[in-house]
């Protein structure tokens, strides 16, 4: 009896539509309910990188952490749109350039010394963010087609190898490449950087928008060498791809360290928990996890590294010394890349 009533009710088309509308409103309502307070983290880093560390932190401390993923610049733009109403406590970026931009925009608060003392290097003098991992720029190559002894010791010599005409891959639209060019402008000056770009352009390099398809292109024989980051090569090697990484000489701009790090926002309502979170990320456990799973270099001592990576002391000293926040001058680099016509 009841069932047939229900069926009859459903048969009436007007009622059916009303029911559907009620359903949608309920579903939306369920989605709109507020969150419990805890920590809110904005990060430009990937989920696989962030989530395991966050879950462990939640389990050990009982502090709930909400994570918002995006790209560095997107989140920085969102933070600026949000202003003082931002719910974010921590900004965790992929590049020191974005952190520098956040410092310049007055978004980050100074950190306690207990925190900034932990990393062995790369801490900015004003202590508004801490480094969490580093990645090194390298030259990926095909061991089947290139002899390692033929590879240059400085990236500045790369354009003088005409044999690789049309066989070099690079990623002008990708942030790591742009950071590398910014570093070259800081170290070698505007004129030499422009000359380097022009000479490279003469070799007709193939441009990619991101690194994985470029390494894929080395496998497929489209190119022989490619300017990239060390972990992309290491991850493809782990998958059994025929590629290898060549490190330029210590101190060469081709060995630039890409520093990832995080800071606490001035608008944070929970700076103590935020500091505890950063401290946790600098702990042995998380640093070891990142080295194992993601093949990035730690910034604290005592982490065991995969044989596919450089030893810790070498890796830390590989990069040229510089003000890593200077990488925030992306605008100048983009202008140069546009003028030379590679972007």
């Amino acid at each position: 009896m009841f069932l047939s009533d229900l069926v009859n009710f459903w048969r009436e088309p007007v009622r059916r539509v009303v029911l559907l509308v009620v359903g949608v409103v309920l579903m939306l309502g369920a989605g709109a309910t507020g969150q419990t307070p805890g920590l809110t983290v904005y990060t430009g880093r990937g989920q696989a990188f962030v989530e395991p560390a966050v879950r462990e932190f939640e389990r050990e401390t009982g502090i709930r952490v909400q994570v918002r993923f995006g790209r560095d610049a997107e989140l920085l733009a969102a933070l600026q749109e949000e202003g003082t109403r931002s719910p974010a406590d921590v900004y965790w970026a992929n590049t020191s350039g974005a952190l520098g931009a956040a410092v310049q925009a007055g978004l980050l608060a100074p950190l306690p010394e207990s925190l900034s003392r932990r990393p062995v290097a790369f801490v900015p003098r004003h202590r508004r963010w801490v480094p969490l991992t580093i990645r090194l720029r390298v030259l990926a190559y095909s061991p089947a087609r290139v002899r390692p002894e033929d590879l240059p010791t400085s990236v500045m010599q790369l354009p003088h190898h005409p044999r690789w005409r049309g066989r070099i891959g690079w990623t002008p639209p990708y942030s790591s490449f742009q950071d590398f060019i910014t570093a070259m402008r800081v170290i070698h000056g505007e004129a030499r950087t422009r000359a380097w770009l022009e000479a490279m352009k003469g070799l007709e390099p193939k441009a990619y928008t991101s690194n994985p398809p470029m390494i894929e292109a080395i496998r497929a024989g489209e190119i022989d060498v490619a300017l990239t980051n060390h972990y992309y090569v290491a991850r493809f090697v782990r998958l059994g791809y025929p590629v290898a990484a060549h490190h330029f000489a210590p101190g060469d701009v081709g060995s630039l360290a890409l520093v990832t790090g995080a800071g606490i926002l001035r608008t944070s309502r929970n700076p103590a928990s935020a500091a505890r979170f950063l401290e946790y990320l600098l702990g042995q456990k998380v640093q070891q996890f990142w080295a194992n799973e993601h093949l990035e270099y730690p910034v604290v001592r005592g982490v065991i590294l995969s044989p596919a990576l450089l030893p810790f002391d070498q890796a830390i000293r590989r990069s040229p010394r510089m003000d890593f926040e200077a990488l925030r001058d992306l605008e100048g680099t983009l202008r140069l890349l546009r003028e030379v016509g590679v972007l």
Binding site: P13, V14, V17, L20, V21, G23, V24, M27, L28, G29, G31, A32, Q35, G46, Q47, A48, E51, Q66, V67, R68, F69, G70, R71, A73, E74, A77, A78, E81, E82, G83, R85, P87, P173, S175, Q178, K206, A207, Y208, T209, S210, N211, P212, P213, E216, A217, R219, A220, G221, E222, Y231, R235, L239, G240, H294, L330, E331, L334, R338, G341, L343
Partner: protein, 523 residues
Amino acid sequence: MQAAAREAPPRKPVPWLLPAPAVLVAAGIFAPLAYLILRALEAEPSMLREVVLSPRNALLLWNTLLLAGGTVGGSFLLAFPLALLDVRSDLPPLLTTLVGTLPLAIPEYVGAYAFLAATGPGGTLEAVLGVPVPRPSGYWGATVVLSLFLYPYAFLNLRTALRGVDPSLEESARSLGYGPWMAFSRSVLPQLKPALSAGGLLVAIHALGDFATVGLLRYETYSSAIYLQYSAAFDRTYAAWLALLLIGLVTGMLWGEARVVRGLRLARTGIGAQRAPRRTPLGPWRWAAYGYALGLGLASVGVPVAVLGHWMLRGPGTEAGIAEALTGTLRLATPTALLAVGLALPITYWSVRYPSTASTAAERVVYFGYAIPPLAFALAVIFFALRTAPALYQTLLLLVVAASLHFLSEAIGPLRAALYQAPPRLEEAARSLGYGPLSAFFRVTLPLLRPGLLAGLALVFLSAAKDLALTTLLSPPGYTTLAVRVWGYASDAMFERAAPHGLAMIGLGAAAVGVLIQTERAR
């Protein structure tokens, strides 16, 4: 005076309920537009000359137009034979429906990456076929790959229209002495005009807005420039200008499409019920038709699934958190699809049944929401939410509203094609029998619109499930979807983790397609 008024045909009064949703939608779409203009006005004239009017930008614009044109052509080339086979031949409709809709479950960027991993020496396809397959790249690569994943938009629109064509029309043409091809092209093709233009517009807008696929295939377009400005350069003013120029381009296309469908009257005028379309036995051509459908399915669905499966075998196999991402996708895509179709129905009905400058403009406005690059749209929504309703900021509700405004136009095409073919007379007859306007619509017209409604629901659901740009910027903290996971893992070169999420997404899309087929069969 009074005599003249009596002679003029009585003008149907528009029920007030119809324009109301259109006004809401227009407000939701024009507000972000105002934001874009506000941003664009901050530009210095020197910057404008240097960047916006540069020869490089002109080249990018040209590239984009070439890509849009090629992709529309390619999509129809692939979809038209398939839609014909589906409606008019004795091939099993399940096969053609699956091949025609399943690629929608595969995000273009995943498809493009799969092709890169599958081709060339040492690729997945070489392991299967024994010989390396040439790698797609540049203009032709981007056109072919985009067409392979966008042709379902053309297919679904074409099929809805082909099914609504009354076979007696073609028979009349035959009885008047036309051969089969002439009869088809004179009587059936004109009926497909709304479907061709709506489907073409959808494909073109996707191609114009795509940045991920063209990026992977190394073809530079206008949208990749916009993406670069938002993601890498911290420059929102320049990006706003680029977005406005792209919107200008789409405006031109919308105007062109409006001219195509203006004044069309395709509804049956005869009495009696419409028959189902006639199915032609293919005879010996059957195998060629099978080959075409299967080949297309293998290229568009087989390759990505094979590559994802291959990655999955290399990895650890289990993936925690996949249920969470699946729930996230459902919580976004389901309400978005329902809301979008609910809004699209009155707007389409208004513009088809009460054609006027205002109603046509309302339908056109919907396409603007689609034409605004999603990244620009998302930032604009953040801006507005924070200034007008901060409580809504970073809620699923806001993301759903933004997504349904953005994807609304995908529901318009099939609905409009179905409405053009639902005779207004039936509704008028119901009214004359004493039903009010609403119940006449719900009892008589709505059941006729069912294929269009379902197609609209399915299209918006799948688009929302694949969405990346809106979800990344507007999602509440802690919220994730399958699409966000696939993209994140793949750009970190962690393919063994991306694979299960990608496969789950394709499974979800297949389930949506399955529901669609079941409901259609139950009719």
